[in-house]
Each structure stands twice: as structure tokens, then as C-alpha cells.
Amino acid sequence: MPARIPSAKIRKAARILLYRSRGKPGVKGWELRKFLGENFVEVVKALNDSLENFGITIKIVDENGKFLSFDEDKTALRKALFVPVLKEAPTLQELKTSGWRIDDIAILAVSLLYLLSRNSRAPRKQLLEVLHSKFGKWRVGYVVEKLIKLGYLEEDNDDIVVGWRSRIEIDFKKLLGIKTE
């Protein structure tokens, strides 16, 4: 039977994981261990169970953007990033309410679909050509820079690659319409 986690510890974990500044989402496993103690995984797991009621789940991501489970090796979990995300996908209206423009979401969708069709990487010039053909030249450059800044896309020399935030937030198989189950 798993040990009972004190509610004060769960509240502390919630504070650490949820109160974040915009530029730095998520908390590293070693940071959680520092604040919550050796059984930090159990505490975060208990918090995750509580957050389920609010449609929030905690994703664990390693350095390469691969998702890990709570049962993973503790050394791997210490190096991983713990990020609270919405369990269910938001509606378009909800995304608009949170500040997104439909055009910007569509630009991100096309960018990701194009990058996924090219093994997650494409020369910036080519990607911009695709975006210009779909959306015209107005705002495309500005939105791409904004998406880079937010971490949805990343620059690598002259190429644009799928960014860390997209790896965490977007279910690529669902976006492509491919599901194994």
C-alpha cells in the first residue's frame, strides 16, 4: 500500500509547479527533490491525482522531449522536467479567450505539419514560402518570430525545427490523424 502523503506537501508541490513565470515553464526533478524531499515523485503523483479533477495532468519530459512515467528510474526523473498541462485539448474558443488569434494558431499548425513531413526540420526559407502561399506575407514573419520566442519553433542554423514547447504541448500523432490505439 502506498504511503500517505501529507496534504501540506501536496499544496507545496502545487505552489512550486503552478506558480511560474512565463519564460520558464516546468520544474526540474532535482528542484522538486530539493523542496519536497526524497519522496518527491510520490508527492507529485499525489498532486497529479488531485489535479485530475480539474482536468490538469503533470507531464514528465526528458532532455530529448520524450515523455516519462512516474514509475521511471529515479535518476532519470531527477533530470526530467515536470510540467502541468491541460489533460483535455481546449476548444478553439477557449484558445481565443486565452489570447491566441485564429491566424496564429493556423500558422503554427501549418509550420508543425510541414516540419513533421520533413523529419521535424526545414530550411527557414522553405517554411516561410509555404506559410506565405497559405497566409500571404502579412504577419507571417512576425508570428514565426513570436512562435520561436514562445518555444513552439526553434532556430538551428538556417533551419527551423520543432520547438521544446510543441514537443510538450502537441500530440503530433493526433495532429497528423494517426493513432496506434
Binding site: 512565463r22 495532468t57 485539448a89 476548444t91 499548425a109 505539419l113 538551428d156
Partner: protein, 251 residues
């Protein structure tokens, strides 16, 4: 014969536990060495009694489960590799902006962030403000007040004898040289210095260059690093706070 059966039974139990544990831990079904488990079973099989065959069957069932997972993994990967690019391009060319946005929204699980100030931050802000009061020159009655010169501040140790313009030029030159090679440079690499004060001035120079729009800084939370890149031609300004202590530890 009985002794051998007991040993075999223990070995069988160990195998089952090992397999269950590996299954629990491994996220990739190919990390499980099926050949090893079947080989071990083959060795034990002649020594087993009818009773032990139940455990043997349990292990075989687990192995079948792993093979099924491997099959699904291969199926998933192959469909992603073959169909993925085709579907992606098809979606780009056929869907409208609204439909594309909807497709993305359906596949999105945004990160939750509460952009509210914590009690610790309020205390930190109060502390900062109270520290600033120390530098306010209070007018004392009966005494003449005067404006303090730069040299006097230097003598008091309140400002350092350093040519900031030169530091900015040097830092900009170093960044430009490294960016021309790799397009991006690690922030901690640029500010690295044995002397904390010099590190501080380099960080100040980077902050100045970013504010002037000559460079841009971004953070990669998976790598836990800040990177300096060439300033984008357009975009919007966003202020970021970088802890020098943290970057010094990262060096």
C-alpha cells in the same frame, strides 16, 4: 531430483520477477531482451514439475505481451513514417485556416501557468525597495549637502573602475564571432569569468545589447540553458530575468 526442482522453481520465480520489473520500468518494448528470457526458460524446462508449469506459462504470457507491444510500436512507427508526411502535406493544402486551427487545438495540451505574484516575490520586492532607500541622499539640517562625484563614488567603493563601453564592445564582438559560427551561443559561455564582478559586468553588457535590439536571448527549459541569438528583424520585446548564481553553477 527434488533438489533440482526446488532450484528450478526459485530460478523460475526470479525470472518472472525480473521480467515484470523490466516491463514496469521500460518505456520502449525493444529494451526487453526476449531472447534471453526464452533461453533461460529453455534451460529450466526439463527440470520443471507440472505445478511449476503454471509459472512457466505466466512468463510466456508476459513475453507474448512484450512481442505484441513491439508489433504495435513497429506498426505505429511505420504508419507515422510512411503516411505521416503525406497526410501532413495533404492537410496543409486542403484545410482552411479555421480547420487547421481546429486540428491543432484538438491535439493541444497547453502548459498551465498561473501568472500571479507569490508572497515570496512580494517580500523580495519590499526588500529591494527598502535597500534603495539607503542611497537616497537625505538633507540633514545644519549641514551643507553637495553632489558626489564619480571619483568619490569610486573611492568609496560604490562604483567599480571599469570602462563599461569597452566591456560592451568586447562582449558584442565575442558574441558576433561565436554567432557567425553556430548561429547561437550559450549565455553562460559568454559571461564566464573567474571574477564575479567581471561576470556581472558582462551580464550587464548582454542585457544592454538585448535592450538595444542588437541581440536576442531565449531560454530552453529542457536543456535548462539561455542562448544568445542574432536579433530578429521583427517581433515583440519581452523582459526576462536570468539568475547569475544559477548560470554560474551551470558553468
Amino acid at each position: 531430483m527434488i533438489v533440482l526442482s526446488v532450484e528450478a522453481r526459485v530460478k523460475l520465480r526470479e525470472l518472472l520477477e525480473e521480467l515484470t520489473e523490466t516491463l514496469r520500468k521500460a518505456s520502449d518494448p525493444f529494451k526487453i531482451d526476449i531472447r534471453y528470457f526464452i533461453g533461460e526458460l529453455e534451460k529450466i524446462l526439463p527440470e520443471l514439475t507440472d505445478e511449476d508449469l503454471i509459472v512457466d506459462a505466466e512468463i510466456l504470457e508476459q513475453i507474448a505481451e512484450v512481442i505484441k507491444e513491439q508489433e504495435e510500436w513497429v506498426k505505429g512507427r511505420s504508419s507515422l513514417l510512411v503516411l505521416g508526411p503525406f497526410i501532413a502535406l495533404l492537410k496543409i493544402s486542403t484545410l482552411s485556416k479555421q480547420e487547421l486551427a481546429k486540428e491543432l487545438a484538438n491535439a493541444m495540451h497547453p502548459i498551465i501557468e498561473l501568472e500571479q505574484i507569490t508572497w515570496t516575490d512580494v517580500l523580495r520586492a519590499l526588500n529591494y525597495l527598502s535597500l534603495r532607500k539607503r542611497f537616497v541622499l537625505e538633507e540633514v539640517q545644519g549641514q551643507e549637502t553637495k553632489i558626489i562625484t564619480g571619483r568619490e563614488l569610486e573611492e568609496l567603493g560604490l562604483i567599480a573602475k571599469i570602462d563599461l563601453r569597452k566591456v560592451v564592445e568586447e562582449v558584442e564582438e565575442e558574441i558576433a564571432k561565436k554567432i557567425s559560427k553556430n548561429k547561437l551561443v550559450d549565455y553562460s559561455e559568454i559571461i564566464a569569468d573567474d571574477e564575479p564582478l567581471k561576470r556581472f559586468f558582462k551580464a550587464y553588457a548582454i542585457s544592454y545589447l538585448a535592450t538595444m535590439g542588437r541581440i536576442s536571448i531565449f531560454y530552453n527549459p529542457l536543456k535548462e540553458k539561455y542562448f544568445i541569438v542574432k536579433a530578429p528583424q521583427n517581433g515583440e520585446y519581452q523582459s526576462i530575468v536570468i539568475s547569475l548564481e544559477a548560470t554560474a553553477n551551470a558553468c
